[in-house]
C-alpha cells in the first residue's frame, strides 16, 4: 500500500498542496498529468529523495515520512533507467542484495530468476552502453525488483521506446505485476498505456490529485 496524507511541498515556483492519494496493496495505479505538474516529484517523495514540509507518507503499514530512502523498501525506476555505467547487467541486478549482504548463492539465484522473468539472461555480462532502450528498461526494472520491494515506482518507463518494444514491455509489466503482486505507481503521459495497465487511474493537476476514469468502471 502507498498512502500520501495531506502532503505539502514547496519548492519556489513549484508547490504541492494538501496532496492525498492511496494505492491499495497489490494495486497498479497509473498517474497522468501535464509536463511539470509534479509527477516525478511525487515519486521522489514516496522513495524519500524529497522531504515534504507537511503530511505523512505510509508504505506498507509503516509511517515512512522521515525514513531515509534505503529504509523505505521502494523499487524506483527513473526515466531512462539511470543504470550504473560501470556495472554489468548481472552486477546491477545483484546490487541491492549485495548491499543487504545476502549470501552469494541467494544473490545468484535471485539474479537468474529476475533475468529469466525479464528476458535479459543473454545480456547479463553486458555493460549499459551496449544496451538498447528496451533492454535498459528491463535491467532497471530487474534492479528495482531484485530485493522484493513493497512497492514499485515507474517514471515513464515506456517513453522513448519504439512501438514494438513498448508493446513487449507493457506485456512484461503486466506479467511482472501478476507474478510479484507488487503495489505499483506508474507515471505516464500515454492514455493507451494507462488504460492497458492500470487498475486505478490518478491525475495530478495544479498540485492536487484527482481520480482518472480508465474506462474500466473503477475509480481512485
Amino acid at each position: 500500500m502507498i498512502e500520501l496524507e495531506h502532503i505539502d511541498l514547496d519548492q519556489g515556483a513549484f508547490a504541492l498542496r494538501d496532496l492525498t492519494l492511496e494505492v491499495p496493496e497489490g494495486g497498479y495505479a497509473v498517474l497522468m498529468g501535464a509536463s511539470g505538474s509534479g509527477k516525478t516529484t511525487l515519486l521522489e517523495l514516496v522513495c524519500g529523495l524529497r522531504q515534504p514540509q507537511a503530511g505523512r507518507i505510509i508504505i506498507g503499514d509503516h509511517d515512512m515520512t522521515n525514513a531515509v530512502p534505503a529504509a523505505r523498501e521502494v523499487g524506483y525506476v527513473p526515466q531512462d533507467g539511470a543504470l550504473f555505467k560501470t556495472m554489468t547487467v548481472r552486477e546491477q541486478l545483484a546490487f541491492a542484495l549485495e548491499i543487504r549482504r545476502r549470501p552469494r548463492a541467494e544473490i545468484e539465484a535471485r539474479v537468474s530468476e529476475m533475468a529469466e522473468l525479464l528476458g535479459i539472461t543473454p545480456l547479463l555480462d553486458r555493460l549499459p552502453p551496449g544496451l538498447s532502450g528496451g533492454e535498459r528498461q528491463r535491467t532497471a526494472m530487474g534492479r528495482a525488483l531484485s530485493f522484493r520491494p513493497k512497492v514499485l515506482l515507474l517514471d515513464e518507463p515506456l517513453t522513448a521506446l519504439d512501438d514494438e518494444t513498448r508493446e513487449r514491455i507493457m506485456q512484461l509489466l503486466q506479467h511482472v505485476q501478476q507474478h510479484t503482486g507488487v503495489t505499483t505507481l506508474h507515471v505516464t503521459h500515454n492514455r493507451q498505456e494507462a488504460e492497458a495497465l492500470g487498475t486505478m487511474g490518478l491525475k495530478i493537476t495544479q498540485g492536487r490529485i484527482e481520480p482518472l476514469d480508465l474506462g474500466k468502471g473503477d475509480h481512485a
Partner: protein, 279 residues
C-alpha cells in the same frame, strides 16, 4: 519578374567548409609545430650544435652526476606524493562543490582558483610567510627541507586536481547515486560504489595533471624549499642551477629528461586507463 541583387542568400558551397577547416587546421598545425621545433632545438643543442659532446654522452654525464641523480629521485618521489595528496583532497572537494550549493560554496570555489591565477613566486612567498606564524619546531622540519618541496608542489597541483574532479562529478548523472540510495545504500555507500567508480577516468586525469604540474613547479620551490644541492634540489631547480653556473648543455639535458618523464607518465596513465577503465 524577380530582381536578383548581390545580397541574395546562396547556399554555402563545399569550398566554404574546406576554407573553414583549413583555417582551423593551420592554427592547430602551427602550435604543434612550435612544440616540435622547441623539442627539436633542445635535442639538436644537446647533440652537438651547442655542446661539446655527443647526444648520448650528455645524457650519460647527467645520469652520472650524483647531484642530478639525487634531484631526479627527489623529483619522482615529491611529484608522486604531491599527486596522491592532491587527488586525496580533490575527490571530496570536487564532489562537494559539484553536488551541493551550500552557504559559502561560491566563495570556496573562487578561493580554490587563487593558486592557479597567482604568480608562482607569490605562492612560495605566501607559504614562507605562513610558516613564520607556526611554531619553530614545525618550521624547522618543513621550511627549506624536503617536506617544503612536496607542500609547495601540492599547493598548486591540488587546485588543478580539484577543478578536474569537479568537472568529472558534474558529468556524472546524480540520479544514479539517488537510485543507489533507494536500493539500500547510505550516501557514503552510493558515493564509493557508484559515483567514484564512474569518476575513475577523472581521478586518473587529475592525478596525471597534478603530477605534471608538480614536475614543472619552480618558483614556489625556490622560495619555500630553496635549491640546496643533494637536499631540496629537484629537476626544475637543477635547470636553474645549471644555467646559473653557465652550463647550458647540462640545463638542456635535464630539461629533456623532464620532458621524457612527463611524456612517460602521461602515456602510462593513458594506456593503463584505456585498458582498465574503458576510457
Amino acid at each position: 519578374m524577380t530582381v536578383r541583387c548581390s545580397t541574395e542568400w546562396r547556399p554555402p558551397g563545399k569550398g566554404s567548409d574546406r576554407l573553414f577547416l583549413t583555417g582551423m587546421g593551420i592554427l592547430l598545425g602551427a602550435y604543434a609545430l612550435l612544440i616540435l621545433l622547441m623539442l627539436a632545438a633542445d635535442f639538436a643543442y644537446v647533440g652537438g650544435a651547442g655542446s661539446d659532446g655527443s647526444f648520448l654522452r650528455s645524457f650519460v654525464r647527467a645520469f652520472q652526476s650524483p647531484e642530478i641523480r639525487s634531484a631526479m629521485t627527489l623529483t619522482m618521489i615529491s611529484c608522486t606524493l604531491a599527486a596522491i595528496l592532491s587527488v586525496w583532497v580533490a575527490i571530496p572537494a570536487g564532489y562537494l562543490l559539484s553536488r551541493f550549493n551550500f552557504r559559502g560554496s561560491r566563495l570556496i570555489d573562487a578561493l580554490l582558483d587563487i593558486p592557479i591565477v597567482l604568480p608562482p613566486l607569490v605562492v612560495g612567498l605566501s607559504l614562507l610567510i605562513l610558516f613564520q606564524f607556526l611554531p619553530a619546531r614545525v618550521r624547522e622540519v618543513v621550511v627549506y627541507e624536503r617536506p617544503a618541496v612536496v607542500l609547495a608542489q601540492f599547493a598548486v597541483s591540488c587546485a588543478f586536481a580539484v577543478r578536474i574532479m569537479r568537472a568529472a562529478f558534474d558529468q556524472i548523472d546524480e540520479r544514479c547515486a539517488l537510485v543507489a540510495q533507494t536500493l539500500g545504500c547510505s550516501r557514503r555507500q552510493a558515493f564509493f560504489r557508484v559515483e567514484l567508480q564512474e569518476a575513475w577516468p577523472g581521478v586518473l586525469t587529475a592525478a596525471t595533471i597534478a603530477w605534471a604540474r608538480a614536475l614543472g613547479e619552480f618558483g614556489p620551490l625556490l622560495i619555500f624549499a630553496g635549491a640546496t644541492r643533494n637536499k631540496t634540489e629537484v629537476l626544475s631547480t637543477t635547470v636553474f642551477l645549471e644555467l646559473s653556473i653557465g652550463d647550458l648543455s647540462a640545463a638542456v639535458t635535464v630539461s629533456l629528461i623532464m620532458v621524457a618523464a612527463a611524456i612517460a607518465v602521461v602515456m602510462t596513465a593513458r594506456t593503463w586507463g584505456t585498458k582498465n577503465l574503458n576510457l
